[in-house]
């Protein structure tokens, strides 16, 4: 992660140095995720595109852009502009603003007239979204409307139906209803952003008159960063876990010196309140599925004592991993990442000590380390960094922390066994393996976008694409859920294969790291073979495309009996399996169909 592109960034610096920043990012040796992004503008989009590119590159996404002709966002959609069609976007961003409103009430309009205007204005957009969604089946990001910088009706502009602010709020509300009902449609909240930045500055008319920018140029980095966080969320690139220090991070003071009674926490005093609010904020994040961990330079008993403080909203049970020792924090954080089976780039490290932050930043450049300084700013800085922006929050996210706990219980249980097979047998595992069902489309797409380790091809799918595959008879698709006596792991495996004549080509095979080494992959393969036999498929082709993260499955196909038939210089391999030669691999899991 490039420091200049982390919040809070120096906007002027980014605008000024955008070309050399771009050059530096592109010179990195990374396996880029290429995405085709269409920007449909109702006003100038040039710098928005340029600076969005920087934030996306920093996240590992290499964008190929399409820009509509100036202002022609609506026409290009409704009249099926051929250049746009040929572009085949992976994602569409509609950059409109209040300047694109054609119907605005005046003081002489009646209530009915205004309602009609609202309908017409809304339909103008809805028609466009439906058309895009039917044609491209890809995520659509749409700006909501920002408020005007002047209010003809003064304070009544917001409460009176003749007010433009009131009208914009009502229009936005209709946008949100659409968003709530359509999974692949995302609102970019520039109403909030312009308010955060400062509406007067954001709407400095000079930029509209001179360059037809709907916002001031210095606000563009903030805008682009905000937009990039939605795009990162859609592709599962946001953060999933936090590692927290304790002293002066979760409470005021140093517990080793001040003792449990001496730390500042709780409702009586300002400092205590600030830390309590921060703890509550973290607790809310945990409920959304963010994994909390501790890495503190303290004796373990002091750490636990602090977390058991009567005014502490967070307790030891809220954390997946608690490390309190005197070792270097970067080593500890690496250990935590392994324990919770997440990449370092999924972690955020929060520590009030700049020296500790610097060590982690230097040694673990993939970990996000925000510059927090004053307790009263912690929440704002973490929030505005948009680390945990979510495209989808599924039930699995909400249950994630319980699942970690169950996993640790399983590890304890394993210690009772001398044979691993005996352990697996006694887990009493039950799996359900079936073709894709609508209630699981979200979770399947989420897994596709987030799973990197046990992932043979790292092909990404949107919810819409999952739905299409589920309805297409030329595909064999399977999901797998797994539970055992300790708990339910939820949906953790996905296979997608395309049937061409009497051969199956596996486009996707992934499994969540939660269920490694339980034989689930064998159970899924057995089931895949059943499906192949039903459809008279003779051969299965498997493909492995190496990435920085999926080395563990490099020889997976060999381990289940495939023969390697092709390999190229980049390490991409193709494998073949004769369906007839299969014998059952799964011994320990009871499978429900």
């Amino acid at each position: 992660m490039t420091t200049e592109l982390s919040y809070p960034f120096d906007s002027e610096y980014i605008i000024r140095k955008k070309r050399s920043i771009r050059k530096n990012l592109l010179s990195q040796n990374r396996k880029w995720i290429e995405k085709r992004i269409a920007i449909l503008g109702g006003s100038t989009t040039t710098d928005i595109k340029d600076i969005l590119e920087l934030f996306l590159l920093d996240a590992g996404i290499k964008p190929v852009f399409y820009e509509s002709e100036f202002g022609k966002y609506w026409e290009e959609v409704i009249f099926d502009n051929s250049r746009l069609c040929d572009f085949k976007p992976d994602l569409i961003f509609i950059h409109t603003s209040r300047h694109n409103l054609t119907f605005l009430p005046s003081i002489t309009n009646s209530e009915d007239e205004i309602t009609l205007m609202l309908e017409r204005q809304y339909k103008h957009f809805e028609q466009m979204w439906n058309h895009l969604s039917d044609k491209y089946h890809c995520p659509i990001i749409q700006n909501n409307m920002e408020k005007p910088y002047y209010r003809l009706l003064g304070n009544k502009d917001v409460s009176d139906i003749h007010g433009h602010t009131n009208f914009i709020n009502r229009l936005n509300a209709k946008f949100y209803e659409y968003a709530q009902a359509h999974e692949n449609f995302f609102i970019h909240d520039i109403d909030y952003l312009s308010s955060q930045y400062g509406l007067d500055e954001w709407q400095n008319p000079l930029y509209w008159y001179m360059y037809k920018y709907s916002l001031c140029v210095p606000a563009i980095p903030l805008f682009a960063y905000s937009l990039s966080s939605i795009i990162k969320a859609i592709y599962g690139l946001n953060k999933k876990a936090i590692v927290l220090d304790l002293d002066n991070t979760l409470w005021g003071g140093v517990i080793g010196d001040d003792g449990v009674e001496g730390i500042q926490l709780g409702p009586e005093l300002p400092m205590g309140q600030a830390y309590s609010d921060f703890q509550n904020y973290l607790l809310q994040l945990k409920k959304m599925g963010i994994v909390l961990n501790i890495c503190s330079k303290n004796d373990m008993e002091n750490a636990i004592a602090g977390l058991n403080h009567p005014d502490s909203s967070l307790s030891p049970e809220d954390f997946a991993c608690i490390i309190a020792n005197w070792e270097n924090k970067d080593e500890n954080i690496k250990h935590i990442a392994q324990r919770i089976n997440l990449g370092l780039d999924s972690l955020v490290f929060i520590d009030d000590n700049p020296a500790e932050r610097e060590i982690v930043r230097r040694n673990l450049p993939d970990v996000a380390v925000p510059q927090i300084q004053k307790i009263e700013d912690y929440i704002r800085i973490i929030d505005h960094s948009r680390f945990f922006e979510a495209a989808l929050i599924t039930q699995d996210d909400i249950n994630r922390n319980e699942m970690y706990k169950a996993n640790f219980e399983r590890e304890e249980f394993l210690r009772n066994f001398s044979s691993y097979d005996d352990y697996l047998k006694s887990l009493e595992m039950v799996a359900t393996i079936r073709g894709f069902e609508p209630i699981y489309f979200d979770r399947i797409a989420q897994l596709c976008n987030k799973t990197n380790q046990f992932n043979l091809t790292t092909k990404r799918y949107s919810v819409a694409e999952i739905k299409e595959i589920a309805e297409n008879d030329n595909y064999i698709h399977l999901y797998g859920t797994l539970q055992d006596k300790f708990g339910d792991n939820g949906l953790i495996g996905v296979i997608i294969g395309e049937k061409i004549k009497d051969e199956l080509h596996i486009q996707l095979w992934l499994m969540s790291c939660r269920v490694f080494r339980r034989n689930m992959e064998y159970a899924m393969f057995d089931r895949l073979i059943e499906e192949c036999l039903l459809r008279k498929i003779k051969y299965i082709h498997g493909y492995y495309y190496p990435t920085l993260k999926n080395r563990m499955v490099r020889d997976f196909y060999a381990s289940i009996g495939f023969q390697k038939i092709r390999e190229d210089d980049s390490g991409n391999t193709e494998w073949l399996f004769k369906v007839q030669e299969h014998t059952r691999l799964n011994e320990f899991i009871k499978v429900n169909r």
């Binding site: 000024r16 050399s20 360059y211």
Partner: protein, 80 residues
């Protein structure tokens, strides 16, 4: 700040914006002569100059400053 110092700073800004260390402008350079200059580059330059010198352009100022020496005139005036 005198005119030479202002020119120096503007030169530095232009080097960054165009990512070209060899770029050199003089008082007599017309903005449209600069290789790669367009209206979008102009906004970047305006925004950067505002921050660098702590000055504010009005609409008419932007419309009137089409050359380096006019730009320096404007900045000099604002700094007084």
């Amino acid at each position: 700040m005198n005119r030479i110092e202002i020119l120096e700073k503007i030169n530095h800004i232009l080097k960054d914006v165009f990512d070209d260390d060899s770029l050199v402008v003089t008082e007599s350079t017309e903005l449209s002569d600069i290789e790669g200059w367009d209206s979008i580059a102009q906004i970047t330059i305006i925004a950067t100059i505002e921050k660098e010198f702590n000055v504010r352009f009005r609409l008419e100022d932007i419309l009137e400053t089409k050359s380096i020496n006019k730009l320096i005139d404007f900045i000099e005036k604002e700094l007084k």
